[in-house]
């Protein structure tokens, strides 16, 4: 795993959950929440849990005002670009405007930076249900962030209704997108309730739902 991992994807693809999973499982030093669009289900709700795991959460809440949706980015977000001893995951909103937030770090990214930019895809989201739409999304995000995407993550799911065949359906569509863009599928995530029996592309990992409550 690279020192810096930037995750993006159309909203609802599950990138915030994956970011929390990665930050905890891979013992990252920081999780930087750059997704300033969504007012609910933000990584801030697992602040304490991340702290327990030694992950510093950088996010945009206002002290004593956790319900705010003030769209600002903490200057702490740039620290991992200066301090090369830090490993960090960035959670980047999945629209052109959202991806543009990466632009502020552009001058801090060295040519040989140890960095990955992954796009998370759930093919059961209507905006990413075909290889064409996925390719267009990748282009949009690259344009917004001014950064080359380096890999795809298959997170195809219907939450509690997910079955293994849904992951396979996602794999099939993503493989076509992968062929067209020359981007590898680097991870496949599966719901904890669905233990996959067949092989899937990339590293296959369980997705723990930290942000959504069990009754949701």
């Amino acid at each position: 795993m690279k020192r810096l991992t930037i995750l993006s994807g159309h909203y609802g693809a599950g990138k915030s959950e994956i970011a929390v999973n990665m930050a905890i499982d891979f013992r990252m030093d920081a999780l930087v929440d750059l997704d300033i669009i969504n007012p609910y289900f933000r990584s801030r709700s697992v602040h304490a849990l991340l702290q327990e795991h030694g992950v510093n959460l950088v996010e945009s809440s206002v002290e004593k005002s956790s319900g705010s949706d003030l769209p600002y980015i903490s200057a702490q977000g740039s620290r991992p670009f200066y301090d090369k001893s830090l490993r960090a995951v960035y959670d980047l909103a999945g629209t052109k405007a959202g991806a543009k937030i990466m632009m502020q770090y552009r001058d801090l990214i060295d040519a040989d930076e140890d960095l990955d930019f992954f796009v998370v895809v759930n093919v059961f989201r209507p905006d990413t249900d075909t290889p064409d739409k996925i390719v267009r999304l990748i282009e949009t995000l690259e344009g917004g962030a001014q950064l080359k995407v380096t890999g795809l993550i298959n997170n195809s799911n219907l939450i509690k209704e997910t079955k293994e065949e849904h992951i396979a359906q996602g794999e099939k569509i993503l493989q076509e997108g992968s062929k067209e863009t020359d981007l590898p599928i680097v991870y496949t995530f599966y719901e904890e309730s669905v233990k996959p029996t067949r092989r899937f592309s990339g590293e296959v990992r369980p997705l723990r739902r930290y942000l959504a409550k069990t009754w949701l």
Binding site: G12, P39, Y40, F41, E161, W215
Partner: protein, 357 residues
Amino acid sequence: MAKVLMKGNEAMALAAIKGGCDAFFGYPITPQNEIPEYLSYHMEKNDRVFVQAESEVAAINMVYGAGGAGARVLTSSSSPGIALKQEGISYLAGSEVPCVIINVMRGGPGLGGIQPAQSDYNQITRGGGNGDYRVLSFAPENLQEAVNIIKESFSLADYYRNPVMIAVDGLLGQMMEPIDLDEAPDFGPAKEKPWAADGSSGKRGSRNKIVSLHLDPYKLEEHNLNLKKKYDEMVDKEQRYETVEIDDAEIVFVAYGSMARIARSAVDTLRKEGVKVGMIRPISLWPFPQNAFEKLPKSVHTLLTLEMSLGQMHQDVRIVNNGRYKLDFYGRTGGVVPEPEEIVERVHKLLNKEDQS
């Protein structure tokens, strides 16, 4: 159709298009912004009308105009925005113009906050506008139910010639769930509206007027009595609810929307402990599903109302209960969403009290 994973707000917006919505007028407010955002793109793609109005007041009056011309119209907002629309809603009801309103509720009063709440119950069921009018209103518990009801709501609004409100709290607007957009049947296109002010005067032989002003008090009383007939029909035909594990229940929760999801989780936990609890889940807020309370088994001794407010629906439970059962209430407000454990604890407290008495 296969299932897709959608966010509540976009699912409701798409359901409106499926339900035959011709035009949307609205003004942004969190936590419902994905509705206008989605419609700003998809209404045009489907040859429908989308207008971002200059304010909530303007939006509801555009709804009044387009609805009066016979179109199937939608507006959406969140609690303080719905408050601004109340005058228009009273006019729409008074002039018998159908429309659909989606209310994605947040904490109040005033601007309040942007986190989920259910403190609009009084505003929805009692109305913030003037006059003897009612708004047919539904509060779905999950996105599939929301999609189904929104599709149906346009034909209900047309049938009753009355505003229909779909009320969800912010959680349902923001959460994601798999849905099948074609699970609910197609309720069909709008029937002809011979009352509409659609510019076809002359051909019909008479002029159509959309008015809520009746200066002769006897005429206005007669108009009100005619409206009341419609409201009585709604009370007869539109009470909707679900009962959960009430057959042998001793304590029955009364909860709707997201609160019902949390209560459902508490029912599971308590049932595993051997505590006999069940739930009445109102789906229609107005008419309040009083029928659900008529058929309760003899085992019931307490109704526990659960709300994300300080006890607004509880007043209706009190009225319907009419002294029959013991009543209790638990609620959180201001955007705080209770955990199922809080409800479990409340029930434990209730049981302890009984042991002591």
